[in-house]
């Protein structure tokens, strides 16, 4: 009986969270937030430079961190 209750509770929680999948996707005209300067992956150049140095000194790798990050996806 107890197990049945627990299972039901889990099912309830499961279904409750499924509502989050109801509206997937951002409309093109809602991408203004992604286009913001502070949403860029390399928004902070100093931070990026320090990271680059870490990669270089600890992992002997340089470059290829990322390309064309974020943005509004225009064109």
């Amino acid at each position: 009986m107890r197990l049945k209750h627990t299972a039901f509770l889990f099912l309830l929680c499961g279904t409750a969270t499924m509502g989050g999948c109801a509206s997937l996707g951002v409309q093109p005209w809602q991408r203004d937030v992604l286009a913001r300067e502070d949403m860029r992956l390399d928004a902070n150049p100093l931070d990026a430079a320090i990271d680059d140095h870490l990669y270089f000194s600890k992992e002997a790798s340089s470059g290829g961190r990322s390309f064309a990050g974020g943005g509004c996806g225009c064109n």
Binding site: Q30, C74, N75
Partner: protein
Amino acid sequence: MIGQRALQALIFASLLSAGAAQAAPPLDIKDFRGRVVYLDFWASWCAPCRQSFPWMQAMEKAYQSRGLTVLAVNLDRDRADAERFLAQFHPSFDVRFDPQGTVAEHFKVQGMPTGLVVDRHGVVRFTHIGFRPVDESVYEDQLREVLAEK
């Protein structure tokens, strides 16, 4: 999209609020009958939109007498952003505001900017997503083709 009646959607667009400073009257569907309409969806944060404005300005100037009407629908959430953008370009064509994206949703806008060429019978003939300055002549040819029809 192609072949879909757009006049009804333009009425829809007439519900949009008009320009800020000047109290522009609501769009009248009669003004669009028999005209070729270039319908543009844009936002201030979209870089290609910035490139498209001078082009749209030029197109309106060149083809207005032959029946072209340019209608730009702004999709900024914040009206102030749009006003700042417009202050740089002072477009002579009509700009309307759709902060909720209702009209954009109706036209199934898939990217910013989206340009639609609506022929004299209210049918969407060409749609292009994005704006590439190298393709300006292609866009212009599409306009000329539709303008040449009766």
